[in-house]
Symmetry: C2
Subunit: 189 residues, 2 copies
């Protein structure tokens, strides 16, 4: 079986066996149980992670009310990190929690830079995938600005049918910026 | 005076004079008057643009109501394009309008790919700036999900004090997902 990370990179550019082995040698495997935190608020974030198995959510906690807002999910073949803290090497202002038992591959900031410097293909992969991620986020923002609650919900279910059944509805509600009750009502329809 | 595009690239990595001249030779200058459309819905988008002078907005039109929602601004030293159409080479689903008279530098998709292939520094610049753009967009989304109208407004004014005075308030209102009246009320405070 082709390694999922290789499959993901090869959607952008093909690698030789040697190149992929070299890329992979920079990653560190990590297993975490459901409910464990991958990143805590205030952490220095030294890694970004490729998800091999399981599902995680990034969330931000309102300092006044203590209420949590989920702003990102990541399941198999997605990348996740507290990106601002990772890229700017500052303390995390949001947290990442395992929604299921997870198997991850961690890449340190130094190794990411090293791979990008040494292998044009890796830098290109990062540039292309980040650009596509930017577009996806922009579309989500467009839906937040102009879409109805119903449209946002339907879009989520169509885009991530698998995630919808795996993730507690309260997380999806805050992800979509709608109430828990609205989610239940829309789901029944 | 150092060319603004060079200054922008050099926040990521230094270029020699020859390297910058080579980069610049791939761009095409473009001047557009206020209210002119840079991209129309349905267009094939062949370029991305670096803003030398002026201000533009990207907006999406609600098919049912005809109402416009501004989802992005770009002023001096920002990049703008209908990114989805540009990257995926599909037809534009949103439009870009000049809010002021504009001077732009256009880079075609082919030239962007060529520069990235030939110059590791350019590919690295794209990767780093896109990652930072992703983070900025993520922070904006977090504010849309959890921030109050007041917080969103204050954040915008603090982040883009210059833009606030240059751009019609109706565009800012839809950008923040709040009503025109709310903007006026918050501004008076």
């Amino acid at each position: 079986m082709v390694h999922p990370l290789r499959t993901h990179i090869e959607t952008v550019c093909k690698l030789t066996d040697e190149e992929f082995e070299y890329v992979l040698s920079h990653f560190t495997p990590l297993k975490l149980k459901k409910h464990r935190l991958l990143v805590r608020e205030g952490d220095w974030v030294k890694h970004e992670y490729f998800v091999l198995k399981g599902c995680l959510r990034s969330y931000i906690t309102d300092a006044d009310t203590g209420k949590e807002f989920t702003y990102q999910f990541a399941a198999e073949n997605w990348w996740i990190s507290e990106r601002e803290a990772f890229l700017k090497q500052t303390a995390a202002t949001t947290a990442i929690e395992c929604v299921e038992d997870c198997e991850l591959l961690g890449l340190s900031f130094e190794n990411r830079e090293k791979l990008g410097r040494e292998m044009w293909k890796y830098e290109h992969y990062v540039a292309v995938k980040t650009s596509l991620g930017y577009v996806a986020l922009q579309k989500r923002l467009q839906l937040m600005i102009m879409g109805s609650t119903k449209e946002r919900f339907e879009n989520f279910v169509n885009q991530y049918p698998d995630l919808y059944s795996r993730v507690p509805k309260a997380f999806i509600a805050s992800f979509l910026g709608v109430s828990r009750e609205t989610i239940s009502r829309l789901y029944r329809k």
